[in-house]
Point group: C2
Amino acid sequence: MAKAIPSRSENYSEWYNELIKKADLAENSAVRGCMVIKPYGFSIWEKMQRALDDMFKETGHTNAYFPLFIPKSYLSKEASHVEGFAKECAVVTHYRLKNAEDGSGVIVDPEAKLEEELIVRPTSETVIWSTYKNWIQSYRDLPLLINQWANVVRWEMRTRIFLRTAEFLWQEGHTAHATAEEAQAETRQMLDVYAQFAEEWMAVPVIKGSKTPNERFAGAEDTLCIEAMMQDGKALQAGTSHFLGQNFAKAFDVQFLNKQNQLDYVWGTSWGVSTRLMGALIMAHSDDDGLVLPPKLAPIQVVIVPIYRTEEQLEQISAKIKPFVQELRKAGVSVKYDDSDANKPGWKFAEYELRGVPIRLAMGGRDLENGTVEIARRDLKTKETVPFYGLTERIKALLEDIQQTIYNKAKAFREEHTVTVDTFEEFQTQIENGFVLAHWDGTSETEEAIKEATKATIRCIPFDQKPEEGVCVYSGKPSKGRVVFARAY
Amino acid sequence: MAKAIPSRSENYSEWYNELIKKADLAENSAVRGCMVIKPYGFSIWEKMQRALDDMFKETGHTNAYFPLFIPKSYLSKEASHVEGFAKECAVVTHYRLKNAEDGSGVIVDPEAKLEEELIVRPTSETVIWSTYKNWIQSYRDLPLLINQWANVVRWEMRTRIFLRTAEFLWQEGHTAHATAEEAQAETRQMLDVYAQFAEEWMAVPVIKGSKTPNERFAGAEDTLCIEAMMQDGKALQAGTSHFLGQNFAKAFDVQFLNKQNQLDYVWGTSWGVSTRLMGALIMAHSDDDGLVLPPKLAPIQVVIVPIYRTEEQLEQISAKIKPFVQELRKAGVSVKYDDSDANKPGWKFAEYELRGVPIRLAMGGRDLENGTVEIARRDLKTKETVPFYGLTERIKALLEDIQQTIYNKAKAFREEHTVTVDTFEEFQTQIENGFVLAHWDGTSETEEAIKEATKATIRCIPFDQKPEEGVCVYSGKPSKGRVVFARAY
């Protein structure tokens, strides 16, 4: 495979698209806005799923499955929800095709029209809360801690693979609680789970905070989020956790008898991350030579390439490598020994670099004589020749080091590209480079005006906001702390 | 919870429905034909998924994801496929809703009509083969061994939870090969994987065989299946594996350069199992007191119930049980210690019986004195008092024994309910009780006539069919072997 992806500085957007294509992660399908996630890309998503699912279960959640279709009338039950989600969606109106009378193929059977149209779920609050109504009678039925792994559809006009697609895969947690405090604690707990996953697994540092009312989930009282910085300085919202108050309980009449034997509405949360995380993973770490994957999410952590002139030499190398592959697997390392003769070592090196395999080992004739192996790390592009003896321990330590190094690099990048500004002029210059910490007067009008002028939005009001008296960078009105502005994906 | 499920002999169908409801497995949703899989039911499905997914990967397959929507024209490309699948399906015609002018809610925006309607996938051969066209150029790209876990929709008129629902969950394998022989070997390999899963995990014995042309998958050259017997003597098709020949390759123009450097069409297979397996699992083993789950698929394998009069006694029991719970978990046993005071032990016993927990332990005051525990097995309803010492090993052995016993019981049941008949009179009597092995003349006409007369279909031409000259039980024409007839779900 020829590498030939554009550099980030040349064309960041094309670099992203070509990287996804060349690294065999995904592609656009013939169906507008829907993607095909290819095996290599899907195996990264599977690792994400497994890690997140384990974390959800450790925090007491169980999985369930709710219908793909939502009756149109359900969407209207929660007033702001319908505004947010009813607009761009896939609508099922018929349930049958028939042969065209002119023999030209199949056509929609006009007689098979649904009485009420069905919406392909853009998110499942409505169908789930309509179900919870039957599951919840008393405080003893609470909390209800359920997650669903599913596909959802939002008919986006401008799509971008992984970042914004008509159909995407995600998980959506939907919990029900007896008190506001409990629901709020859950909302925060799940945000913390997402932040932990982003930082420890994806090696992507994130800022935790609250969305402004403008940017809240349609139907939520409060939306918490984690925001990550990509290498072009733009922000990517990597996960959200919503405190729904009693909004959906009221919309679907979900009441329970509390400990005082009084009827009350249930308190809710919902939280989700999606295949969008794949986009974040790619854009946070990769370079002009291809993907850079954190070892914890890499489908192949170590690739071994033999370098040989004769069949005999290959046999000698294989005799040494094959038991070592078993040893690595036993140690929990995923490893591939690529002894195929279809491609030359140089081609293989470039290919695995493109695919982001964290560690590459190469063994040639001289290594065989010396009892050594060449070890190269993808993140720093360094290589060295080391003794074959004790290699398993070295690799395990190296994988941990790579995971940490990638995280540190992304964190340093974010710090370099985050500035504190106090004038709007400075704001306009600095917003080109990354995150801007600025005072804001707390109004939607100012937020909108800034967005209009700079394309930047308030990514969040950070939890670690320092109390600091100041004046709004735009309106000059008083402010009690800085918020995070950025252009965003 | 009051048990109160009807007995199997009273009303088999109601027993099934009520069992699913009372054991908290699933329920019908507000959307016609779509089910909600509840947490307890879903956790069984997750165990099935994990086991199957591991088996797929061991046989060299990887997962990927293809779009939910299929352009209407795709369905027409394979002639028999469209006949089989285009008829009852969910059709997306619009991509937007808008507020009704009279303020009555949202309506479909007539201006947002799709140029070409999209079908919610009933199965994915068409969309996948249209994608494979771009992935396959040479024999070096083959075989392509891909599986997808997904939801699919078939607009069934008469639905039955797990067995026949409009939306269901499944996996669908889609492979591409350079030769017919390889594709046929793959078709057979995956059927063997399904059979092994059914027998070793679900403890359900199955008959492997080929479908008659009448019962083949729409677009396949050959359909292999596994057939299981339910406790009412009816058959349930538990998995199918299709040899597609070059049909889909021709329909979507998927050609490759073979080793002789000639262009040829690719050979294909597809194979799937679905949440229907949940229905098979329930109906194969459960009894009038509730679910009976094979230990390998039971979300909770062991439940422990303390029996106490005083708080002090509970503390003493808990002090003994809690470290034991840790020990069991370390041994890989999933265990629940139910010390909640909301319900009495008798209620708990009935509840876990209903939910099919394979082993129940109870510890009371006397056990505490004697160093014993009461151990009860769900499948045989036997109980005995045994020493607490050495219990982990006993439990591990017992779980294996229960798994085997459940399988043996189902197998003995099938043998008792399978008869060889040589007259149509006998056929009509015996078909009420189970499987009938009878000679068939090999024609679709006879097959249809028998179905018309008895509601029984040919479940399969078994692989282990003995060559035996005979005459067709219906037409009197010559036959070379017996096939398996039954009424089926």
